[in-house]
Each structure stands twice: as C-alpha cells, then as structure tokens.
C-alpha cells in the first residue's frame, strides 16, 4: 500500500501542493497528527491543490484535507471526479445545523442538589407505593386464596432459601468458631470461662445470626432479584405480562417478598444453629467446656425471647431485602449501565436498610430477653 504523500512545489510565484498515494483511514490514521500538521503548513489561500495522483481516498482521508482547507473547497483544486464525491458528502454533512452546546450554568450546583433531592423524594414515594401495593396484594390473596401464586412462591423459596443453605452454614460455622476463639482468649484472663456460653449464645441468637444471614441474602438473592426484574424490563417481558392481564405486582413482586419473608427466619434458625455448633466446638477446644455443659447452660442464660426476636428480625429483614431488590429492579432502564448501577444500589441499600432496622430493633427490644 502506498502511503499518503504531500509535495509542495513553488512555481512562478504560486504554490502547488501535490498529493499522491492512498489517502485512506488505513494509511493515514497511523500518522494523522503529522499529516494534518504538514497539510496545515502547506495550506495557504494562494496555493493550488493537485490531487490527480491520489490513488484512493475515503472520508477519513478527505476529512484531513477538508480541515486543512478550513472547511471550504479551495479555489484552485484539480481532483478526479470519482474522488470528488466524498467531498460532496462532507459538504452536505457540514451544511447541517449543529447542535448548539448549552453552556454550564453558574448555578449548576443548585440544580445538582435539587435534582438529587427530587430523585431521593421519588425513591421514597416509589418505595412507599411498592410497600402499599404489597399490602394490597396480601389482603387480596387472603380474601382470594385461589389466586395465591403458589408455584412462584415455592420456586422463590427454593432459590433464595434452600440454595442459600450451604453458604449460610459455612459462614455461620466460621463466625461461631472465630467469635468463640477470640472471646475465649479474653475470658481466660479473668477466669470467667463459663461466660463463653452467654456471649456466644446471646450474640449469635439475638444479633449476629439474623444480621449475618440478611447480609448474605441481600448479596445473593437481592442482587439476583434486581437483575432478573431488570432484564425482564429490558426485554419487555414485564410489559407482555401486563398486556395479558397478569398484574406484575402479584405475579413478580409478591412471590419474591413473601418467599423471602418465609425463608429468612428459617435460614436464621439454620445458620444460628450451625454458628452455635461452631462456637461450641471452639469452646471445647480452647476452654475445655464440654458439649454437655454448653447444651445445659444455653437455655438458662439465653431466654427464649431472644430466639423470637431473632426470628422476627429475620422475617422483617427478608421482607425489606426483597422489597428493596424489587424497587431497584423496576427502576432499571433498558441499557447495561442502568442494570449494573441498579444492582449495585440494590445490594448496598438492602444492607444499609438491614442495619438501620437492626438498630431500631435493638432500641425497641432493649427491655426484652436480656438477663439482669
């Protein structure tokens, strides 16, 4: 392939710029900057341009020349007719009105704050509407049990409940071991070995079990729900459902929320049991506290109310994780960027909501189930 070449010939007072070679993207893009500098040096209102020896030209090559010419055809130009067409196209494109750039207002920051506030307000309004819709659906299903979306609920129970059992068990066991091990190191110093049962029992049953499971489920099932609803919106499946007269809130959102509200307390029991086992193993190993002693002491130092609080937390966490996931899933717009940002927002918000609710629970139940 012959490269693009520029020759400047000074002849009886006039300058002739002779171009030759191939002026295509393939040959010019490698040295676009050098060529346009060279052309800029050669361009002069008085120069005449000889393009007859150009072998081939495409719009990338022509654009280089066009810019060097100052966006107008020079007066003295000789060019092959088949090469002329590309300049005609450029002239047409140049003739079209350009979008005026809107200058950035000095009050831009006010607009940013305003937009963020309005956006936050819309989030809250949408979320309240979603919760309200869930309440209405629940009332409707209670009055018409035949319309209960059984299959969907059962599928969701399996997906977000049963399939989450291995990971919650693993994490629960390890947390139990670690917590027990670290507490044991401290308790040994005071000779307060037997209090390990109180610490492990109360901490895991009341606090750590529900929160840990909620965070795992928010990352696992919450993101999956958001992504699923989001893709269904992108592919217009949600619209298709609505046109068939199937209400999306009843068929898509209700089963997810209901299933997670049921599954979460069960997962809490499961992972709490496993975490206690982990703690027990570690306590036996570190402090020589026998399994039998641990089992006997546990009910007396951890009142049953704590278990009920843990279960209630689990149900509320599950409901809110699913609601937050659905809320963000329905906000996905049909592009990949929106899908990813909403999935991220869903998980982050779900975890934040879980922690906030946990704090509310801690204050509301401060007089229940604590010894002393």
């Amino acid at each position: 392939m012959t490269a693009a070449r520029i020759e400047v010939i000074v002849r009886d007072g006039g300058r002739v710029v002779r171009l030759s070679g191939r002026w295509t993207l393939a040959t010019t893009s490698q040295r676009a900057a050098a060529l346009s500098a060279e052309l800029g040096g050669a361009a002069d209102p008085s120069s005449s341009w000889d393009c007859l020896e150009v072998e081939a030209i495409d719009s990338a090559g022509a654009m280089l020349l066009w810019r060097a010419w100052g966006r107008a055809v020079p007066q003295n130009l000789s060019i092959r007719p088949e090469h002329w067409r590309v300049f005609e196209r450029i002239e047409v494109a140049d003739g079209q009105p350009r979008e005026a750039l809107v200058p950035v207002s000095p009050l831009q920051w006010v607009m940013v704050i305003g937009a963020a506030t309005l956006g936050a307000g819309r989030h809250v309004a949408d979320f309240v509407a979603l919760v309200g819709q869930f309440g209405l659906n629940l009332a409707y299903v209670l009055r018409n049990p035949a319309d209960l979306p059984r299959r969907e609920i059962s599928a969701n129970l399996y997906k977000s409940g049963v399939r989450a059992m291995p990971v919650t068990a693993l994490v629960g066991f390890l947390i139990g071991v670690v917590l027990s091990y670290l507490s044991a190191l401290q308790l040994k110093q005071f000779g307060a070995d037997i209090f390990i049962v109180n610490i492990i029992g109360l901490g895991i049953v009341r606090e750590l079990g529900p929160v840990l499971v909620a965070i795992l489920v928010a990352g696992r099932s919450g993101s999956a729900m958001t992504a699923q609803l989001g893709v269904m919106r992108v592919t217009e499946e949600i619209d298709a459902l609505s046109t068939m007269g199937v209400p999306r809130s009843l068929r898509l959102i209700f089963p997810k929320v209901a299933a997670l509200t049921i599954a979460m307390p069960l997962l809490v029991v499961w992972s709490t049991a496993i975490a206690l086992t982990g703690g027990m193993v570690s306590a036996q190993w570190q402090l020589d506290i026998s399994y039998g002693f641990f089992f006997e002491t546990l009910p007396s130092v951890v009142p049953a109310a704590n278990l009920w609080i843990g279960l209630a937390k689990g149900a509320v966490f599950g409901m809110f994780v699913a609601l937050v996931a659905c809320h963000f899933g329905l906000r996905v717009r049909p592009n990949t960027e929106s899908l990813s940002s909403n999935t991220t927002a869903s998980v982050v918000s779900a975890i934040t909501v879980v922690i906030v609710i946990d704090a509310i629970f801690a204050i509301a139940t401060r007089n229940i189930g604590l010894p002393g």
Binding site: A26, S29, S59, A93, R333, P334, N335, T336, S338
Partner: protein, 262 residues
Amino acid sequence: MTGTPAIRIRNLATRFGDVWIHKGLDLDVAPGELVSLVGGSGSGKTTLLRMVVGLLMPDGGSIEIFGEPLFGGGVARERSLRQRFGVLFQHGALFSAFSVFDNIAFPLRELKRYDEDAIRDLVMLKLSMVELLPRHGKLMPSELSGGMVKRVALARALALEPELLLLDEPTAGLDPDRSDSFVRLIRTLSEELGLTVMLVTHDLDTLAALSTRVAVLAEQRILAYGTTDEIIRIDHPFIRNFFLSERSVRALQNSRPASVPH
C-alpha cells in the same frame, strides 16, 4: 485489487453436536459484488456469516478475507484485518450504555489516532451518510426506532472505512417503506464507496434490490451461485419454493435485479 477474492471459503465444515451444518462448502466473493446468502431456516446462513467475521471457528476448511486467514499472525495483524470489514448485526448490537454519537465514535476512538475534533467531524459525516441528523447523536439506543437502530449500526460499521460489509438480515423487522429506503441507502453507499457486500436475508425484495449475485445454501453446501435470473432456472425443490412461489415472483418482477459489475 482484482484477482484476490474479498472472501474465499474452501471446503468449510461445521458440526453442531453430531449434525453437520456445512460440509465441503466453497464460496468466492469477488470485490465489488453484492452477494445475498439465502437458505432455509437452520441451513447455517448466520453461522456462515459469523465464521466469515471470525466469531466462530469452523471445524474444518479455510476462510480467507482479502487473501489473508482470519486467525494467526499476531494481534496487530488480526486487528488490522478486522478493520477492513464492517458488520451489521441483525438487532444492531448498539452499545446500550452509549449515545448514538459515542457508538459511532467508539471504533474511531479505539484507534487512538484522532483527536476529539476530528472524531466529531467524522461521526457527523457518518450520520449524514446514513441520513440522520446531528441532533440524533445525543439519543440513546433505547430511544431509537427500529429503522434508526439499523442506520446507526450501519454508520458504526462504516466508521473505519471498511472494504467489505457483512449484513445479517438488514431489513428484518422493518416495515416495507423503511426497508426499501434502507436497501436504497446500502446500495448507494456500496456503489459510492466501492464496497463488497455479503448479506444474509429472507426478504426477497431486499434480495432482488440489492444483490448482484445470489448464493443458495442448502444440503450443507452452496447449492447454486449466480445472478438471480440464473438461479431461478435451476430446478431444485428449495429454489422452487423460495423463488417461484406466487409472492416471490411478484417481488422479483417489481424490482429487477441489479446489474452485474463488469
């Protein structure tokens, strides 16, 4: 450039599981031709197109583009070969997170050789070539109609000044009016830019209006390759069904096939 075919396929074989899709398939596309690939559903037209652009590897045989193999010889060579052809996917395959402008600018930016002003000029030129207005550049792919998606995708395929254009069902999903104007656009551009075009289509109007030659893919190979008039005379059940049904005859009469270039 004459002599080397733009696309040269020799003895191509493809297998999905234990079903042979292609077996001993040969095809040459000369520069400047507009070749339509037709065939029944599941005959492997799109598979063949995806192999030509290097998205799928054949199980046997060879494909050469401008006399060069698609794979091997280092990243730089593979990349520069891929810049010599543009692909228009059936559903446009626009990047949904980018605006129309950024979609068309993307391949140019990837070259890393042009400044933003030059890219802007080139993108505006491509937009005008596909008969879109500068203000359309700001739209997002989800805001476009089906016809506009195809136009933007075509502009993106043309961004790197390809010599070969591959189109997968260019008019599928467009209404007849849009489809006609899109076909006219492809034809004008391919004549002006001297493009070689290979397209997969089901639509006889598109086929009749665009192609200088037709390749019929059936029985795992290219059953027939010639001008529309030549193809119609071949007596084969698929060709009879495809070209000589009442609907097809009407379509073929309405638009006479494009003339074969010298």
